[in-house]
């Protein structure tokens, strides 16, 4: 977590512990902090404070957008095949339509248009969810083009974006105006785990997922996680203020990381061209090795990386993103995802390069 966020939240775990829904003075203090956090978040997102809903994370936001739209409006949900499981599994759960992605991992716009055009009056498309940035390979969706197609061919549909991976690298003020709903997860930008932000635009009605005390204007019940929300707002504020310079700095680190690995070992595929990708993701595939083995060796060398998502047992699953992109198994078996962020240093890049090169050489021996 960002130090500023930890500092901001600490009083709300201690002497400012009150529930903001109460009516006494301490409750009013908590309420004030909550309202200010909401204003801050709205400012960085480019929406109205009343459109901000605090949630338990990105998964809840994704579920709320898709299930909430289908439960309220009926019809069909649509998403691309490389979405995070929080979206994909929701769409599959309501028997929605999954659209193809192209070889950089973003939605195939022609296929999206085809699916939207094929909808009927009896079975209209009521929600389209398209991620702003892919969580695995880091590719950036042209949200403007997506919005244009959705508005033209499914004008009544809710357009939702899972912007969880975008927050660090993309000015969200450029995305929020294009969509009806948007989901963020605080821990992706230096906030706490278990807190998220959702935008639901005025007039866009979604069925709540969670009923109860009517918090968040009846859109999301449950006592506010005040300290978490304060930390989230602070983390987002710092992220927003430093995004431009961090993007330049981290891009250089990321490119050096990949360039130096490629200079020292053969059989490396850079999964997505750099111009399509956010700075914080280096995704590469090594031929002729298995990423479970690679991750173990990297772990031993103090490089903590991932490959794809893990199932409940903790086992790595073959990546549905790479499969949707058409990456062959001979490459995707050796996929490695390295994340960079505001704490990443030059020295860490040196360590990672040397650890990865030596691990790959060991496994290919």
């Amino acid at each position: 977590m960002r130090a500023e966020a930890i500092e901001a939240m600490t009083p709300y775990l201690d002497h400012m512990y009150a529930n903001p829904s109460g009516s006494h003075r301490f409750a009013r203090e908590a309420r004030k902090a909550l309202d200010e956090a909401r204003d801050l978040v709205a400012e960085t997102l480019g929406c109205k404070p009343g459109e901000v809903v605090f949630t338990s994370g990105g998964t809840e936001g994704d579920n709320h957008a898709i299930l909430g739209a289908v439960r309220r409006l009926g019809g069909i949900a649509v998403c691309p095949a490389a979405e995070h499981h929080a979206v994909l599994h929701c769409v599959e759960h309501v028997n929605g339509v999954v659209v193809r992605v192209n070889n950089v991992g973003t939605v195939d716009l022609e296929d999206l248009q085809r699916v939207l055009e094929a909808a009927t009056e009896e079975q209209p498309i009521t929600v389209v969810s398209v991620m702003a940035v892919n969580n695995e390979v880091g590719s950036i969706t042209p949200m403007r083009d997506v919005a244009r197609i959705v508005r033209k061919y499914a004008p009544n549909a809710i357009l939702h974006t899972d912007a969880v991976q975008a927050a660090c690298w993309v000015d969200l003020r450029e995305i929020t105006p294009l969509v009806d709903a948007l989901s963020l997860s605080a821990h992706k930008f230096g906030g706490p785990k278990g807190v998220g932000v959702m935008v639901i635009k005025t007039g866009k009605n979604l069925e709540p997922l969670i009923f109860g005390g009517g918090q968040e204007r009846d859109r999301r019940s449950g006592t506010h996680n005040v300290s978490g929300i304060i930390a989230t707002a602070k983390a987002l504020e710092v992220t927003d203020a430093t995004r431009a310079e961090e993007s330049v700095r981290v891009t250089k680190l990321r490119d050096r990381l990949v360039d130096e690995i490629r200079a020292q070992v053969d059989g490396v595929l850079e999964t997505v061209p750099r111009e399509h990708r956010v700075p914080g993701v280096a995704h590469i595939c090594f031929s002729g090795l298995e990423n479970e083995a690679l991750l173990f060796l990297l772990d031993q060398a103090d490089v903590y990386a991932s490959a794809a998502s893990a199932c409940a047992s903790g086992a790595m699953e073959p990546s549905h993103v790479l499969e949707a992109m058409g990456v062959e198994r001979s490459w995707s078996n050796g996929a490695l995802r390295l994340s960079l962020g505001h704490t990443t240093t030059d020295a860490e890049i040196d360590l990672a390069v040397s650890a990865i090169v030596s691990a790959v050489n060991q496994l290919r021996r």
Binding site: E290, E292, A293, F296, L297, A310, C311, A312, S313, G314, A315, M316, E317, Q362, L363, R365
Partner: protein, 355 residues
């Protein structure tokens, strides 16, 4: 050391024993089966148990996803064996292809000195320096039969840290250490077959069953079965034949003609048995057996070892000639040869369908 931890008590204690002996230990649980399951090594709660034991022992715990290999080497052949009228042993194929091939291959790649498991078997050096796969200390729990496929190279890379303990001692050790798996029951069944559906549902979802005629040995009709694929040699029940009279057993399954032959118990007895795909613990045993051919033969996981002599046809095939006629061994079953002290595994293979 890489310890294969299934989430059961034996492998938990195996990890603890190695750690106590001063080894650097990493635990691994293989994720093998992604489908429905309620028992065995693949369920999430078993992985949880393995991880929690590893945490308690303060060793790293990994999960390796070998589900593709498991499908290819265990599940698909299991299904095909039923189509072919063969009685498979998937747990042994899992040992052969997953634990002592895929896992040990990866362990070597990652620089581990050995793979350990919780099997009740021992590995000893004999006077000539040959590694001998030896029965576990607990007669009732011995598992040398299911790990018979280890040759010298694999034996040198394998450890069985609980093989010298009885099951009761293993449980005592687990209780002493406060391991959460101390009182967990032993796994019994095939891990990818759920209790609710059973083998019939599992196979029925994957292959069409063939109806078959049940006939007497003289060819006269005796009944019908709905699924030829579910019939095993030696079976008595579920053959659609009326009760009374002498007990009737399946004495042959004629897969090409979809016929099940039944007869009296005497018809099940055979003088000899052909064993294919033999793997020898040590190839030098072939020469020894050419001189002295007496062996003890075990053909089920907890069956007795029966005296026989062995004719060696070639490196991979032998004929076992029983000292006394024995009930027929269903094709596909694993047959393991032990020395005359009934202590060491000499080799083992698969009962042939050839007569």
């Amino acid at each position: 050391m890489l310890v294969a931890m299934s989430g059961g008590v034996d492998s938990s204690v195996a990890a603890a024993e190695l750690k106590a002996a001063g080894h650097e230990v990493v635990g691994v649980t293989m994720r093998l089966w992604g489908g429905e399951s309620d028992t065995g090594c693949c369920s999430v709660s078993d992985v949880d148990d393995a991880r929690r034991v590893a945490q308690q022992l303060d060793i790293d715990h990994l999960v390796f996803n070998f589900s593709d290999d498991f499908d290819k080497h265990v599940v698909a052949p299991y299904v095909q064996a039923h189509v072919d009228g063969i009685t498979p042993n998937p747990c042994i194929e899992c040992n052969r292809h997953l634990k002592f091939d895929r896992l040990s291959e990866r362990a070597r790649l990652l620089g581990f000195d050995a793979v350990a498991t919780g099997h009740h078997a021992r590995i000893e050096h004999d006077d000539e320096g040959i590694l001998r796969l030896t029965r576990g200390a607990d007669d009732a729990k011995d598992q040398s039969y299911v790990v018979h496929m280890l040759d010298q190279a694999e034996l040198a890379y394998t450890m069985f840290p609980v093989g010298h303990l009885t099951k009761a001692q293993v449980r005592e050790r687990a209780v002493e250490l406060g391991l959460r798996t101390a009182t967990k029951p032993d796994s019994q069944d095939v891990c990818f077959i759920s209790k609710t559906g059973g083998r019939e549902t599992f196979l029925g979802n994957r292959i069409p069953f063939r109806k078959a005629e049940v006939v007497n040995e003289d060819g006269s009709p005796a009944g019908k079965v709905e699924a030829l694929e579910l019939v095993t040699i030696g079976q008595r029940k579920g053959l659609g034949i009326p009760g009374g009279g002498p007990k009737q057993y399946v004495v042959d399954v004629d897969t090409p003609n979809a016929r099940v032959v039944i007869g009296e118990e005497a018809s099940l007895y055979r003088e000899s048995l052909i064993v294919d795909k033999v793997i020898w613990s040590d190839l030098r045993d072939i020469e020894r057996l050419l001189k002295t051919s007496d062996v003890l033969v075990q053909s089920s996981a907890h069956g007795n070892a029966i005296p026989a002599t062995v004719e060696i046809w070639n490196e991979f095939s032998v004929r076992v000639v029983w000292n006394e006629p024995q009930r027929r061994i269903a094709p596909g079953q694993t047959v393991v040869l032990y020395d005359m002290t009934n202590t060491h595994v000499l080799g083992g293979g698969i009962a042939s369908a050839k007569k």
